[in-house]
């Protein structure tokens, strides 16, 4: 069962407050957010599907939510430890350590306080030591390092190409052996290369960074599933004050709905009936990934635009907003 969560968002006070109400977070939004988030999680069709399939993503989601609660309620080392457990299970949630460490270094995204390097390093140190301790326990219990082959090396080397909702399997079925290692590196690097630029851009909003990294992980993991998408979809209601600036919500929502209907159909046609082929299934999966990326860029855009409006008021005439300097592909 998920725990109740509460969000606290700092509001920047500026000179111009009249007419800028839509920019601010309302207290009733904060109170209802908890209920809305719970409802979104429990009634998400992808979540229900994961439950029916009896996957282990429920444990991953629980630990990620626990880490989120811990870091929002001011327990830095608890959240680092919980995140270390999640990272031990699946490799990629380790990038979520960056927003957590940033949160403690900037005291919750406050731009006035200087960057606290000791807090940053100590939270990362706790994360690494808990992960190392858990690994040591596994080595002692199993007696050898052979488990690495079936866990981390499985993620990294992608030996199994069973079709998933991700982008890895289709590419690696057709890549030449000579280039396989190169493209494996490129694909794995794809997740980690965006972390530093995003962290530099969103250093004042660690919660938004956390959310965006959740989407990034769900899209670019080697073996993703729809269960990975449930957490970030459930977290969308907390950005009520950004809804004004999200541009592609209709497109993303429709694509996700179409994916939810067509993906099982295409799968059945391909695998069970044999009358379609892999391209059908991959096409709809690709549309799903594109919808998630649209969501990600929308959130980022909305956050940056919101910042501009917080300092210049809601009716800034010049067209700011999309910063062309962000080199994110």
């Amino acid at each position: 069962m998920k725990r109740q969560r509460s969000e606290v968002k700092r509001i920047e006070k500026t000179e111009k407050t009249d007419g800028n109400e839509p920019l601010f977070v309302r207290s009733m939004d904060v109170a209802s957010a908890a209920v809305v988030v719970q409802v979104c999680y429990l009634f998400n069709p992808f979540g229900i599907a994961s439950c029916i399939a009896m996957t282990t993503s429920v444990f991953h989601n629980f630990l990620i939510a626990a880490a989120l609660v811990a870091f929002q309620s001011g327990r830095p080392y608890v959240s680092a430890s919980v995140l270390a457990l999640v990272s031990m299970l699946g490799l990629y949630p380790a990038v979520l350590m960056v927003p957590i460490a940033l949160h403690y270094a900037t005291a919750g995204g406050n731009s006035k306080t200087p960057f606290d390097w000791t807090a940053f390093c100590s939270s990362i140190a706790v994360f690494c030591s808990v992960w190392a301790g858990a690994l040591y326990m596994i080595v002692t219990l199993s007696g050898s390092w052979q488990f690495l082959q079936s866990t981390y090396l499985f993620f990294v080397l992608v030996p199994d190409l069973t079709p998933t909702v991700g982008v890895f399997w289709y590419f690696f079925t057709e890549v030449f052996d000579h280039f396989r290692l190169f493209f494996l590196w490129v694909f794995q690097l794809n997740i980690f290369i965006f972390v530093i630029p995003l962290a530099l851009t969103l250093r004042r909003s660690p919660m938004m960074l956390f959310h965006i990294l959740l989407i990034l992980i769900a899209v670019f993991k080697p073996y993703p599933s729809v269960g990975d998408a449930v957490v970030y979809m459930a977290l969308l209601p907390i950005w009520r004050h950004l809804y004004l600036y999200i541009r592609h919500s209709f497109l993303a929502a429709c694509t996700m709905a179409v994916f939810a209907v067509l993906a099982p159909v295409m799968w059945k046609l391909w695998i069970q009936d044999g009358s379609a082929n892999a391209n059908f299934y991959f096409a709809i999966t690709l549309a799903y990934c594109t919808a998630q990326i649209f969501l990600l860029t929308d959130l980022l855009y909305a956050e940056l635009r919101h910042r501009i409006h917080m300092t210049h008021g809601i009716r800034v005439v010049d067209e700011s907003g999309t910063e062309a300097k962000i080199a994110l592909s």
């Binding site: 030449f176 280039f179 530099l200 005439v317 080199a327």
Partner: protein, 529 residues
């Protein structure tokens, strides 16, 4: 309204400037981090993971080996019983040595002759002791012990018997003819060398070639490989009538194969074909009252039988020996109409056909025919000079010597040529993958060949034969290895097709932001100074 917007526009630069200036360093850092990872990490990664793996090869040694001259040390031992004068034998030896020095084989092959006199107690001794070098043994037999026609007798062992006469010149000439034409067959060695070096016959040589030489070239058209496969195919057109199971045949051929082992390894396989018949080219001959197969129809038999032959994945040359159990008596006749002895024929580099008319006959007869076919196919036959005779044996010792010298020349030249060709090929085509295994084989081949050359210099003939064989095998294995071709036909435009969809969409924003980062950096430096 217009004044308000104008006022706003005037106020805008000041506030925007501060905001942008505060945010800009972080923007630049973000772009710079991205660019740094892509260029500093990505480019070496791309280079290292997609380059063609080429192990290092000993180029100088490979080229050097193909330019060396083969020197075969030949030891001639003249044995004489007490009845013959020692000084006389010494004269013969000197004359012989002088004549042999004028012998020119080829610029690539030199024969180093050493003549040795060995006293023996009696002319009946047929064995002079084995040695590591190539020993050609001659026993001078006095008139009293010579009980056969002619003046030369090529024994079944290693020894050749020479009839003694007073004339030293005549005896020396006899021994020289025996060596050059039969026991060592220098002409054959010369042909082998020229074939291995791919030197063609000139028009003059072709016109003046004797029939015997032409035949020799036909039978020696293929190099003597380190191993051969012998496939015995027993063809039963009517199994109800004749169901002989010649299971002993492989056992009967095995001693022959074992004796040949130092020179070439024969692998024997056998297969039965039931209800398979020869193409109907036989005709009824009224004179012989039997079915006959004309000699000129024999080529028409071979091709249709090809489809019954199995293929095995191996680079060893194959001899297909077919044995046909004829339901009715069938004889092969030559152009004159005479029955061919053994009722069998051989096809160069392919194999042969033997016809068995009597199903229940003894296997040893058939084994003799098959061994004869193999001898012809391996080039063991020889034309004897006039007034000489030969002992009958499946494989005489001196024949094995001759085959060994031919094998040494073949293997050494073939290995050297293959290594040079390999070196040239790998140097010219940059796309060929040289794995560690290939490099290991090439090294081993080069080592073995160098050692073989050294052993030849040290007069260690038989170890040199074995090493040259090994070098030839390794060089062939390296040359024909399929792993060389892994990236050979990978066209360049396919490589671009692989890289562009990945790099272009990522690269364009990176290049643009690189420009922005660089201008920002220089502007900041300018502002500082």
């Amino acid at each position: 309204m217009a004044e308000e917007t104008k006022a706003l526009k005037e106020k805008r630069p000041a506030v925007n400037e501060v905001e942008v200036q505060k945010e800009l360093p972080y923007r630049m850092m973000a772009s710079a981090a991205f660019i740094l990872v892509m260029i500093v990490f990505g480019l070496p990664l791309w280079w290292n993971t997609t380059k063609v793996h080429r192990a290092s090869l000993p180029h100088a040694r490979m080229l050097d080996l193909s330019s060396r001259q083969l020197r075969i040390p030949v030891l001639i031992r003249i044995a004489y019983p007490p009845a013959i004068d020692e000084k006389w034998v010494t004269t013969v030896a000197e004359v012989l040595y002088g004549d042999l020095q004028d012998l020119q084989v080829h610029e690539k092959l030199k024969l180093d002759f050493v003549v040795d006199n060995v006293p023996i107690p009696s002319a009946a001794i047929a064995f002079l002791g084995s040695t590591e070098s190539l020993a050609l043994d001659f026993v001078l037999t006095p008139e009293s012990d010579w009980g056969r026609p002619g003046e030369l007798y090529f024994g079944a062992q290693r020894v050749t018997l020479v009839r003694h006469s007073v004339d030293t010149e005549k005896v020396a000439k006899l021994i020289q003819t025996a060596i050059v034409d039969v026991v060592l067959d220098v002409d054959q060695l010369k042909t082998v060398v020229r074939r291995d070096l791919k030197q063609r016959e000139t028009g003059w040589e072709l016109a003046t070639m004797t029939v015997r030489e032409q035949q020799r070239r036909v039978w020696d058209s293929a190099a003597l490989a380190p191993r051969h496969r012998v496939e015995l195919l027993f063809v039963y057109p009517d199994p109800t009538q004749c169901d002989a199971q010649p299971s002993r045949l492989t056992a009967l051929l095995k001693p022959f194969a074992d004796r040949l082992a130092p020179v070439t390894e024969l692998t024997l396989q056998s297969e039965n074909l039931f209800y398979v018949d020869l193409p109907p080219w036989q005709r009824r001959d009224e004179i012989l009252q039997t079915d006959v197969l004309d000699a000129d129809k024999l080529p028409l038999i071979v091709n249709p039988m090809e489809r019954y032959l199995t293929t095995v994945e191996s680079t060893a040359p194959v001899f297909h020996l077919l044995v046909y159990y004829s339901p009715r008596p069938l004889t092969i006749v030559d152009e004159e109409g005479d029955a061919v002895p053994g009722n069998a024929f051989a096809v160069a580099s392919w194999g042969g056909l033997a016809i068995v008319n009597n199903c229940s006959a003894d296997d040893s007869q058939l084994a003799a025919v098959l061994i004869d076919q193999l001898r012809v196919l391996l080039g063991l036959g020889s034309d004897l000079p006039p007034r000489s005779s030969k002992g009958s044996a499946p494989l005489a010792g001196w024949e094995l010597n001759r085959l060994a010298s031919r094998s040494l020349v073949d293997s050494a030249l073939r290995a050297a040529t293959t290594l040079r060709a390999l070196d040239k090929l790998l140097g010219e085509i940059q796309n060929i993958v040289i794995g560690e295994q290939i490099a290991g084989r090439i090294e081993a081949a080069v080592d073995a060949l160098e050692q073989a050359f050294q052993l030849m210099k040290d007069e260690q003939f038989w170890p040199a034969v074995a090493l040259a064989k090994k070098a030839a095998e390794l060089a062939d294995e390296a040359f024909f290895d399929p792993s060389l071709l892994a990236l050979l036909y990978f066209p360049d435009d396919q490589k671009y097709a692989i890289y562009i969809p990945l790099f272009l969409p990522v690269g364009v924003p990176v290049v643009l932001s690189l420009r922005a980062v660089v201008t920002y950096y220089f502007k900041r430096k300018q502002k500082r100074d």
